[in-house]
Subunit: 411 residues, 2 copies
């Protein structure tokens, strides 16, 4: 990619994300929903103006979600996270078991082989923590108890997801799984997360002390980003996800007395980088699969529709593992629902191994898109009593003139 | 490049730039000098840990200098720039004519062909406005009259440089130049700059009005960056340099009442992106050419040394085109001296066309490195009477214990 191409891509992403984000906001929806829609319009299913597989775009999107999770860690009190720890683990466990069982049984009943059924089940276990975090940020609910449970469960899910990915990859390539290897991956991932937080805490305090002695400007934000990247790198090398590392780095820096300055200087970086991630997810969705008038899509739509229902119900029920009347279980369940890019990564591995056919991959795209696009409005509905923006249903039934005026002027 | 590789590269850049930037600052030097040194150490001439030709690295460096010039435009009053306009043009003209004539005569006298001599002369005409702007920023002199003259002259030089580049490229590829084509390029570049400022002013005011009506957060900084990128893209398409476009976008937004908020939110982005650019310039320098004990380098060092002296004197004298006793001509001349990446681009075109030999290219690297590394300390010396930091000479003659303690504790 050359500079001209990169500038065109970034301008389209920024303008699209802001325009549709604003529209979503005025329709009473979380802003991130608009950014996803902008991605669909610009991407493979729409105008094909941005290529979601271009190397630079993929890397900038990765940096975007790393910064988002770093920002989230910074704003999260680790003690509150530990307080709800067991409930998070219960939600994560149920949120993996239910969709997996549902997907497996459904596929098996439909006559798919054992291997394909396992793959489909595995694909449904994913949670895209990025989507949920942004929705919680957009609607100002990142500090609620539900948010803490979701955060903890989503991070656990990310670790579990990578273990499942290793299992299915081995199944796909070698037809068998080494229990010893799985145990190793699991132990390493858990050890990394605990180590990242413990060492991160010691390291963060020293880092802030060193930074305070520096005379050049900008050291705090540059060093903080370097720290987040270093922890992301460590997570990658330990076989975990980069965002788990940057989340741990954020938790650690969040306990230093500089956390407010870091959060403030991080904001503009997050504003620039995170839309790249969400537009990329949207750009990956090929909405041509959704066209019911194309007969080739009928089987895809039926299978995708069933899988989508299983995916939603499975994660929704997992929220009820909390067993706490003060916590809105429905919100937790909905918060775990978006599959985002994680589900696609699973299906992609299956496609490359020749296990997931092109049609099944398309069905997974439907599941991914459906859960990802439905989660933001549902999460807002379950967490916010009276929406501050407009109500979509009442808005649709207003006279056209009034509707346009309310959209633009807000009255 | 994958994510792991990108994270390693960025961590090395950030840590290296900050560590050596801090060291440069404590030795009484502009911070940017340390970032350049960090690049040399990490790059092709040093540890080879970062590859200055990796696509993502090059693009992020380009974004870095675009943001730097956008920031500079934002902090520059266009009326002050126009006030010194003629003096800037005189400096730019003399700063192109003198180094070109010097380089051509020297090369011709050394027995090089006409074509090679023209190429070498052209290479010496470049000015890297990025280096000078960062030095002026580092030492807090961006608002002086000298800075305005240098800025105007460097922007003019960037436009002239691209015209010269087009001329030498045609000479190299076709052996002749079309006067009509050159006139077209010149007219288009000048028309673009004037148009970018005039249209930019109208557009910026409307943009700010639209942004003020938006309800989603982060719109101001995202829209400002999109604006800067759009103008950079326009400059590229008009055959001008991207940084000329982003500078014009900054000038336009600098006249709106939101310029202070934009400048504040832009700071963290500049802190993250600009070091990537300076580390990249440093990483391009192969210091093995400087090794005098390698006999193969002797001819390179002699030719490079002569060209370096011509390059420095030519730009230094151009500062005296100002004819104003209140302006420090020496500072203006020194400010025009750094060739940075621009000189290398020229030489690269010549090398690809088979006109510039590997040895001559190495000599140009010496000119580029020499002028780039000498300009920051000289610019500080000529503009700042009593350096606030330490004096390098006195520091070197202190006892070792006191030296280390002053370096760390500043006393």
């Amino acid at each position: 990619m050359d500079l001209t191409h990169l500038l065109v891509t970034l301008i389209l992403i920024f303008v699209g994300a802001k325009a549709f984000g604003e529209l979503a906001n005025r329709l009473g929806q979380p802003t991130v929903l608009g950014e996803l829609v902008a991605g669909v319009i610009l991407g493979v299913g729409g105008l094909k103006l941005v290529d979601p597989h271009a190397n630079v775009f993929v890397l900038l999107a990765d940096i975007g979600v790393i910064i988002l999770l770093f920002e989230t860690g910074l704003a999260t009190d680790i003690r509150e996270l530990l307080e709800v720890g067991w409930r998070s683990l219960a939600v994560a466990a149920l949120g993996v078991i239910l969709p997996f069982a549902g997907g497996f049984v459904f596929a098996y009943a439909f006559g798919y082989t054992n291997l394909v059924s396992i793959f489909l089940g595995a694909t449904l276990t994913a949670t895209s923590v990025g989507i949920t975090v942004r929705v919680l940020q957009d609607i100002g609910k990142l500090q609620t108890k539900e948010a803490k449970i979701i955060l903890g469960a989503a991070v656990a899910d990310d670790i579990v997801g990578l273990i499942i990915l290793a299992v299915v990859r081995d199944l796909g390539l070698q037809g068998e799984v080494s229990a010893w290897k799985i145990a190793q991956i699991t132990a390493l991932a858990i050890a990394f997360f605990i180590g990242a937080i413990v060492i991160g805490n010691l390291f963060a305090k020293r880092l802030v002390k060193v930074i305070e002695k520096m005379r050049t400007s900008g050291t705090l934000i540059v060093a903080s980003i370097a720290f987040a990247f270093l922890w992301s790198l460590g997570a990658e090398l330990a076989g975990s996800a980069a965002i788990v590392g940057s989340f741990a780095a954020g938790l650690a820096l969040g306990r230093t007395h500089k956390f407010e300055v870091i959060a403030r200087e991080l904001k503009p970086l997050a504003y620039i980088f995170t839309p790249i991630f969400f537009v990329k997810i949207g750009a990956d969705v090929d909405i041509r699969y959704f066209n019911p008038f194309n007969e080739a899509n009928h089987a895809i739509l039926v299978v995708g529709g069933f899988l989508f229902v299983i995916a939603m119900i499975g994660k929704f029920l997992s929220g009820f593992a909390v067993f706490d009347p003060r916590v809105k279980s429905a919100a937790v369940g909905v918060g775990m629902a978006p599959r985002g890019e994680v589900g696609l990564i699973f299906a992609e591995v299956g496609r490359r191994a020749g296990i997931v056919s092109a049609d099944l991959f398309a069905a997974v795209v439907i599941v991914m898109a459906g859960t990802t696009f439905l989660a933001p409005p549902l999460l807002k509905m379950t967490l916010v009593r009276r929406p501050r923006g407009m109500n979509l249903v009442s808005w649709l039934f207003e006279p056209a003139r009034k509707r346009v005026s309310r959209l633009i002027w807000g009255r």
